[in-house]
């Protein structure tokens, strides 16, 4: 509700108006609802009126607030106070107009009294009308500023969504924006099916166990919101819904469902505030719902992309399977090289689009092996020079196969040049040092490691330590020393893939 008195009203104008009508003999004041004068005219009686008003602080003279008729109150033998109450259109008390006049003798001066009453009524009506207009204007402005808030949010969201790829990072950006925009302690976007959880915490006070809080959201809170299908606002600590939602959460909660294309609720947006912050209001709920609608649209795109991505990955997996079916001993090689390559790429701090290219390049680097005759590929003995030629063309063959796929354009250099050697003695193009594309040099490190540690047709896989020794030996001749360093640093942290890929380890001596 809008609180407003006469702040924006030129009260003096009304004062001067009464002044002119009533004549110079009267002291006049316009008072607020508390009885304090907002305006008082300037003649010699004004001082006396001020005294009376302050001595009779609010309510001392029991003016009736229920009538708009003029009331009178005898002060002493000489003076009388006249009073007209000011009422707002909705009946609320705005104060009154007070006139200190010489004692009117009803019989002697009835006309003067009527004259003043009429004037005061007119002014009171004008004040009331102005107040009403102000209230209306204020209400409109209030409404307008809420619409602005919504518009601002939609524009800001739109501007960000338009420029960004629809990835999980986008959802993080959107929740961050949401937290800033709504000045909440925590904003979280929760999509349980896909394990996608994006959240931002800018707490006014620290939040304990935020991880646990998020887990609880994914469980009970999401079940509640998706079942009820409506926004949930929990301000009151003792709200009866609380036990269904959180076992132990002292926060104020605003949770809004997010639908997928088909009206099915698949996700939700949750805003949390500490108890010390203001309650979530209706306008907050509306803003959050607008945000949820935008998130819904993003989610449709996100799901489509995810589906497409899954499809592409499955196609790639099928392709790799075709190659690896030819040689049971290389089973899992592409996947392992891919995994280690990505770890190196991330450790090198490559940007996202670079990593994406590295992703496909490392996964598909060996598809060209499809062109190697089985007799050569699976030969459990040393290859002849002629046979080796088949091996040497496989990266070029990978390139020829993959170049038909536009999306893999950026992945081609890595796949084509993963067999180049740092000193320029590799194949297919005998590139040297930095001439070798970065992705090729990275994949070469991962590829070398896996070749040594995995079993082949003619030998068992060797240990991690042996691989490291061998790789250090060929550092600068076969492998890029800088990338090898990064790889060796990774290994020091005993990464989980050593277990996953069952890499053999040497017994620790001593």
């Amino acid at each position: 509700m809008v609180e407003y008195s006469f702040n924006n009203t030129d009260i003096e104008r009304y004062g001067r108006w009464i002044d002119r009508i009533a004549g110079v003999d009267h002291a006049i004041a316009i008072c607020d609802a508390g009885g304090a004068p907002l305006w008082i005219n300037g003649n010699e009686r004004a001082g006396r009126l001020s005294e009376i008003l302050s001595a009779n602080a609010p309510g001392a003279i029991a003016w009736s607030r229920d009538t708009t008729a003029m009331q009178r109150h005898e002060i002493d033998a000489r003076h009388v106070l006249l009073y007209v109450a000011l009422q707002a259109a909705n009946g609320s008390d705005l104060g009154g107009i007070v006139v200190l006049a010489d004692h009117f003798d009803r019989d002697a001066a009835p006309i003067a009294l009527d004259h003043i009453e009429e004037a005061l009524q007119d002014v009171a009506a004008a004040l009331r009308d102005e107040h009403y207009a102000q209230m209306e204007r204020l209400g409109l402005a209030e409404e307008l500023s809420e619409r602005y808030e919504e518009l601002h949010l939609v524009y800001a969201l739109d501007a960000r969504a338009r420029k960004a790829d629809v990835t999980s990072e986008l959802f993080e950006n959107v929740t961050r924006m949401c937290a800033e925009q709504m000045a909440v302690d925590v904003a979280a976007f929760i999509y349980p099916e896909t394990k996608l959880t994006a959240f931002t915490a800018v707490p006014s006070k620290p939040i304990h166990n935020l991880d646990l809080v998020i887990v609880e959201m994914r469980g009970d809170l999401f079940r509640f919101v998706s079942t009820s299908g409506a926004s949930l606002v929990l301000n009151d600590k003792n709200d009866l819904k609380r036990p269904y939602v959180f076992t132990d959460m002292p926060y104020k909660v605003l949770a809004v469902p997010v639908t997928s294309g088909s009206d099915r609720i698949v996700a939700m947006l949750v805003l949390l505030n500490h108890e010390s912050k203001a309650n979530f209001t209706n306008s907050d709920r509306k803003l959050a719902e607008i945000m949820a609608n935008q998130l819904s649209s993003l989610l449709v795109i996100y799901d489509l992309l995810r589906e497409q991505r899954t499809f592409v990955e499955q196609m790639a997996a099928a392709l790799i399977e075709t190659v690896e079916a030819k040689d049971p001993y290389t089973r899992g090689h592409s996947e392992r090289v891919h995994h280690i390559t990505m770890e190196i790429g991330r450790a090198l701090g490559l940007p996202a689009d670079d990593l994406e290219n590295l992703f496909w390049g490392s996964l598909l680097h060996d598809v060209g092996k499809i062109g190697i005759p089985d007799a050569v590929l699976c030969k459990p003995a040393r290859l002849t020079a002629d046979e080796y030629t088949f091996i040497m063309v496989h990266p070029e063959r990978s390139y020829e196969i993959l170049r038909h796929i536009d999306r893999l354009k950026g992945a081609l250099p890595g796949a084509r040049h993963h067999q180049e050697k740092y000193d320029g003695t590799g194949y297919p193009h005998r590139l040297k040092g930095d001439e070798i594309p970065l992705h090729g040099r990275i994949i070469a490190v991962a590829d070398t490691y896996d070749s040594i540690t995995s079993s082949r047709a003619y030998r068992a896989g060797r240990s991690h330590e042996e691989a490291v020794r061998e790789m250090k030996r060929v550092s600068g001749t076969q492998l890029d020393p800088a990338i090898l360093d990064t790889f060796l640093k990774l290994c020091e942290a005993e990464p989980s893939w050593m277990g996953t890929f069952s890499i053999r380890r040497e017994e620790k001596s001593g």
């Binding site: 509700m1 204007r137 925009q181």
Partner: protein, 130 residues
Amino acid sequence: MTRVLIVDDEPHVLLVIRLGLERAGYEVASARNGQVALELIRKSPPDMLITDMNMPVMDGRALCEKVREELKLEFPILVISTIAEVEKRSWVPPISNTEFFEKPISLRQLVARLEKQFGRSSATVGNGNG
């Protein structure tokens, strides 16, 4: 009391910003174009100027230039403008101590921005939710 001058040719923008800032405890004056604003600033400079970009008679850019170059006044300026216009970065060369603010205005963010500049105002600050 911190004094803010808002300049915009759209009366509803003036109304909303005025309402929000007055409630947050600022003294607000407004003008419908750069020319009028310049006269007000000449008489008594505000603590901050918030101005639209595109206006009749004198636009925001010209107003800011006159404030800095002719009047040699360095109070902070917020230029309110659509995201698209802000992205175009059409304000070259830049004007000192000037920041862009996205339109449509979010009062919450505007009040927060002013608080950053002037500290929390003494008046009771409503959160704009009534």
